[in-house]
């Protein structure tokens, strides 16, 4: 996991110091056995990657601050506009323009806002209160076909842990939705970008399938 130059075909996980990337790295190593998988905070390594995974956990304002402090913004923007690019959790949220969490600006690659689950909507069909964070295995409904859904059933369950979700302006970018009190966008895609709110690295075989599809993806 030490920083190193990216070899041809390398998958690079962007490390901006916000938590444990070991799970993401381990899962990618599992599905990309013939490729180099690096975790790196070095903008040059990110730019030199064949494909980039942009994870995230914690609070979005902290994540944005660390990306700026580590000089990673331009490398992430370049990767997100030129390479197969996978955003996970906060890594999905940061692609949008703005978040209600800490009233912070995102990277603005996709139009829309990151919103908190609204307390007044957090009830199930039986009227029982739903808890926030949304934690556990929920279904992702495919809104349209995408190469990263290959081998993954419509409504397959993934592991989620989050209190905020993306609300895109452009509904054409929505590739997956999930119900929790309200239907929310759980996966988006545009060109070379695919981003998902749940954690494929923690979603057992289903998640590994998605990561394997990403490693093989030729957008």
């Amino acid at each position: 996991m030490a920083p190193a130059a990216a070899a041809p075909g390398a998958v690079v996980v962007v490390d901006y110091g916000m938590g444990n990337l070991r799970s993401v790295w381990q899962a990618l190593v599992r599905v990309a056995a013939d490729r180099q998988v690096l975790v790196s905070a070095d903008p040059e390594v990110v730019v030199g990657a064949e494909r980039v995974v942009f994870p995230g956990q914690g609070a979005m304002p902290d994540c944005m601050r660390e990306i700026e402090l580590r000089g990673l913004r331009s490398a992430v923007l370049e990767a997100a506009t030129t390479k197969p690019f996978l955003g996970i959790c906060i890594g999905q949220q940061m692609l949008f323009e703005h978040s209600e969490e800490g009233d912070v600006a995102g990277l603005g690659l996709l139009r829309g806002t990151v919103r908190r689950f609204p307390a007044e909507r957090m009830f199930d069909a039986a009227g029982k209160r739903l808890k926030v964070p949304h934690m556990g295995w929920n279904e992702v409904r495919h809104k349209r076909a995408h190469p990263l859904w290959k081998g993954i059933a419509d409504d397959a369950r993934f592991y989620f842990v989050h209190s905020y979700f993306v609300d895109p302006v452009d509904s054409a970018c929505v590739v997956g939705t999930t119900d929790y009190g309200l239907p929310f966008t759980s996966a988006v895609a545009r060109d070379n970008i695919f981003a998902i709110q749940c954690h494929p690295e923690k979603s057992a075989v289903t998640g590994l399938t998605l990561l394997g599809n990403f490693v093989a993806w030729k957008p």
Binding site: S23, R129, K131, P133, M135, G136, K202
Partner: protein, 253 residues
């Protein structure tokens, strides 16, 4: 359809081996933690929890190498607890591959630790484990040090407090039921689950599949945790989920 109720096998670990006691005494050896975790993943477990049950009392170091080995092979969430006393301990476990870290005694002795840790690593990573014993009708007290030391804290008040401090989840164990196989303390579970807005995992007392379903349907738990019924192959996790689905509970199958 929506969020599934979770089934979480718990591996009580000491000296690198999985054990399960009766009321935390009389430990029986049930095997290698990584092998068992992998078996549970294959059976469809929603998460796995490791509790280093002797760490808190013996000041034993935490089980980092087991966590590392598990994280390399098991791609479902892993919670680790036992002997966590500082933000440094939390970070070491997360860096080894844990997804969530559970704290119990240290949270009671130093509630600021919950706030500090959740601010640093995110509340989704912080689980507060509450060991409770009934002291009167509808009254439960929090115990620490593996259930040996009373704290004077009311379990429901403490659950609300840890939510305010930043806990992302509560692992609630009935000390009266743990190891008895008589089922969860359902009034306790329901009282805590209804009192907080964060997920509650019911623990302590599961002896059969009906108990698991009751934890959700009557205890209002978001997840149910059990050890011995899975370790000794009385039931697989899949059987447990099929049973719960038959009770009308939404599960991942």
């Amino acid at each position: 359809m929506g969020l599934a109720k979770r089934i979480i096998p718990c591996l009580d670990v000491t000296a690198g081996r999985v054990v399960k006691g009766t009321n935390f005494i009389d430990l029986r050896d049930a095997g290698d933690p990584v092998e068992i975790a992998r078996r549970y993943d294959e059976q469809g477990a929603d998460e796995v929890t490791f509790l280093d049950i002797t760490a808190s009392s013996d000041q034993r170091d935490i089980i980092l190498h087991i966590v590392e080995a598990c994280a390399a092979q098991v791609f479902i969430p892993l919670t680790v607890g036992g002997g966590v006393r500082s933000v440094t301990d939390v970070r070491r476990l997360l860096n080894a591959g844990a997804d969530k870290v559970s704290m119990n005694t240290a949270a009671v002795e130093n509630p600021d630790l919950v706030a500090e840790a959740s601010a640093k690593v995110g509340n989704q990573c912080i689980v507060v484990a509450i060991d409770a014993k009934q002291v009167a009708a509808d009254r439960w007290q929090v115990f620490t040090h593996g259930g040996r030391r009373p704290t004077g804290l009311d379990a429901i008040d403490w659950a609300r407090r840890v939510q305010q401090l930043g806990a992302g989840e509560i692992l609630l164990t009935s000390m009266d039921r743990d190891g008895t196989r008589n089922g969860f303390d359902l009034p306790l579970t329901r009282a805590v689950a209804d009192a907080v807005g964060i997920p509650v995992i019911a623990s302590g007392g599961v002896g059969n599949l009906r108990h698991l379903a009751e934890g959700v349907s009557e205890g209002h738990a978001d997840a149910v945790l059990a050890a011995s019924i899975f370790h000794f192959s009385e039931h697989t996790v899949r059987e447990a989920k099929e049973y719960m689905r038959g009770c009308g509970i939404e599960v991942r199958l």
